[in-house]
């Protein structure tokens, strides 16, 4: 299912690692390729939602995993990450867009946990209280630990790259696929504004 991810050499026969050659534009372009080849919108789990292979219970449990991930994960890490961004950072517009995006994850009226719980309750008649206290899968815990490490234990730029570039930039296509699948298979009448807001939740847990 998942492609292995060795830090493979670039294909020029020079045994150089992908970060060892080229300029910064080539470096970023390689990272885009790496991400796009492993895009979660194309993952078999996402495809199972689009094709209707997954049960209602599976979808509800998935929303529960995301809910807990956001509540215990993203909401804990983002303040660390935001606090580590240097005060004197240049490129103010870029910084402001990023901070606004991070802050929006838990800013009323679009607190992403509330949005998730409301959607699960209205669309799937799920028990919000039970969902809020979902038991995490081992893979969810492992994922959270890795993102916590980058948000908390590394430089601000590594944290921004891990959570922002690695996860957040996958959100538009990922969540569009989820929404398309739910509409096709369940007749879900979820407003675009809600699902588009949730795209963050369904991406970084800050998502």
């Amino acid at each position: 299912m998942t492609q292995s991810s060795p830090q493979h050499e670039i294909g020029d026969g020079t045994n150089r690692k992908p970060w060892e050659s080229g300029d910064i534009e080539q470096f970023i372009a390689r990272l885009r390729i790496y991400r796009d080849e492993r895009h979660v919108a194309d993952h078999p789990f996402t495809r199972s939602i689009v094709s209707g292979e997954i049960s209602r219970e599976g979808i509800v449990n998935y929303l529960g995993q995301f809910c807990v991930y956001v509540e215990r994960g993203g909401k804990a890490w983002l303040p660390w990450l935001m606090g580590n961004i240097p005060v004197g950072l240049e490129f103010r517009q870029a910084k402001n867009v990023m901070l606004d995006n991070l802050y929006g994850e838990f800013h009323n009226p679009a607190d992403h946990v509330d949005l998730l719980l409301d959607m699960a309750a209205k669309s799937f008649d799920a028990d919000k209280e039970a969902l809020y206290h979902s038991t995490l899968l081992p893979e969810t815990i492992a994922f959270m630990r890795i993102e916590e490490h980058y948000a908390h234990d590394t430089s601000w730029l590594e944290g921004v790259v891990a959570l922002g570039f690695g996860l957040e930039t996958q959100s538009p296509r990922y969540f569009e696929e989820i929404r398309r699948g739910l509409k096709l298979t369940t007749g879900l009448k979820t407003p675009t504004t809600t699902t588009c807001t949730l795209r963050r939740t369904l991406s970084t847990g800050t998502a």
Binding site: Y34, A94, L137, L157, V160, E168, R200
Partner: protein, 57 residues
């Protein structure tokens, strides 16, 4: 609108990556991005096992 914001957000991250990734940072930045991307995939592997294939049930 939010999707447009995400695209803008992605562009902003690349602006910061482009201007703050010194040559000596590249390995760490590469690993931050790729390990996070891989972790996201592995999480979805787990979701698939738990809720689709039934291998965890």
């Amino acid at each position: 609108m939010h999707i447009e914001a995400d695209i803008e957000h992605g562009d902003s991250i690349e602006v910061l990556m482009r201007n703050y990734t010194r040559p000596e940072h590249r390995e760490a930045i590469w690993k931050a991005a790729t390990e996070s991307i891989d972790a996201y995939q592995l999480w979805h592997d787990g979701l698939f096992r738990a809720y689709v294939s039934g291998k965890r049930l």
